[in-house]
């Protein structure tokens, strides 16, 4: 079973040379640590920055320079700053090649819920609704099973939706899936090292499809 860093490492393999990438809060933020050094990738932070660099050295933090998770960051040479309207303009017009975000639930048709638990947790959607409604290429990074042992890959989402039929690819602690938004279903593409197809099937509440041979992830 993969830990959070393992999920991030697997997702980093989806990033290609020349991509502009938006990383959400949580596991997606860790993906930045595994982007290969031999490709050129620009990270977009939706509060208004292209060219996000690593965290600053201690003593060099700047209150005016943060990412969308409100963490202090740095800028790489060639960075650009812009306002919030332009930031979502480039998201809406699909200039951002890849969006990686977390989820509480995903349905077999690619619906996603990640912003609200009624009566309990009200944090808001931030930029997630804008991202999932417009991005052409979205990868969800999530835990497949919650603390109570219940699958979060469902026939239908039970929580308020963030977006409808928008998720095509999911990476969890157990597997990589492709979602068939037309017919509904989680198609198993890869297994985490040492995890069997049956274990993954048992952790998937929605329609599940697996070919005869399912390769292990190449980490």
């Amino acid at each position: 079973m993969l830990d959070k860093n393992g999920i991030a490492k697997r997702i980093a393999k989806e990033i290609k040379d020349g991509y502009y990438v938006n990383l959400g809060i949580g596991i997606p933020t860790l993906v930045a640590n595994y982007i290969p050094e031999n490709i050129n990738v620009v990270l977009q932070s939706e509060n208004g920055l292209l060219g996000m660099g690593p965290f600053p050295h201690a003593g060099e933090e700047d209150a005016d320079l943060i990412n969308a998770g409100k963490q202090t960051i740095t800028m790489l040479p060639g960075s650009a700053i812009f306002d919030s309207a332009m930031s979502f303009g480039m998201i809406r017009s699909q200039k951002v090649d890849l969006t990686i975000l977390g989820a509480m639930e995903v349905s077999e048709y690619g619906d996603i819920a990640n912003w609200k638990i009624p009566g309990k947790l009200v944090k808001g959607m931030g930029g997630a609704m804008d991202l999932v409604a417009s991005a052409k290429n979205i990868i969800v990074a999530m835990q497949q099973v919650n603390k109570a042992g219940e699958s979060k890959l469902l026939r239908q989402c039970t929580l308020p939706l963030t977006g409808v039929r928008c998720i095509r690819k999911i990476v969890t602690e157990l597997a990589v899936f492709e979602v068939d938004a037309e017919n509904g279903g989680f198609h198993l593409l890869e297994r985490a090292p040492g995890i069997s197809v049956d274990e993954i099937r048992n952790a998937t509440a929605g329609k599940f499809f697996a070919p005869v041979h399912v390769p292990e992830m190449d980490l």
Binding site: P56, E60, D64, D83, S84, F88, D130
Partner: protein, 232 residues
Amino acid sequence: MINKVVTDAGAAIAGITDGMTLMLGGFGLCGIPENCIREIVARGISGLTCISNNAGVDDFGIGLMLRKRQVKKMIASYVGENAEFERQLLTGELEVELVPQGTLATRCMAAGYGMPAIFTPAGVGTEVAEGKEVRNFGGKDYLMEMAFDADFAIVKAWKGDTAGNLVYRQTARNFNPVMAMAGKITIAEVEELVPVGALDPDHIHTPGIYVHRIFQGTNYEKRIEQRTVRGH
């Protein structure tokens, strides 16, 4: 040049009264108008509707206004850093409209560009779409979202001149330029007020025509919400 300078935050917020709608710039605690918030808290103006991406934290930013029950309604995209906010929301003391972040920014922009509404795919098929007109363009559904209508916009810039031209610094820019354009009356507080002519016209982010009052703020705390540093 028209002189937009007022002496301080007290003079800047003149005319803000109970029940008004305010836009407040900033993302998290980055680029928030600290001086004006402090003054609004000191005066106890209440029943306010606040449009801002976030609601501050418990003891800073808009959180200070929430703590004194000055906010009747909050329009924001993300409020996860504020326990008092969540408490007031869950008990029903505070009215809240959660808006997707891009929709929030673009509804400000529309106001500043003189457009009554925008169409965006954000929120289609979710509870955000309830009661809103849906239009299909090129096979894809879009929600009609209305431009905001705010009595005052209050923004924070890095530098500004006496004519109201503004320059922001790094990611403290965020919502400030679009909100500056959107208020019926726009107040700008700046870290450094400079004479007309000191700013390069090519480098101005917000032209002074959008700014009605400007002053140099004092005692900026510029608090960092999540201090993160590199490992060794």
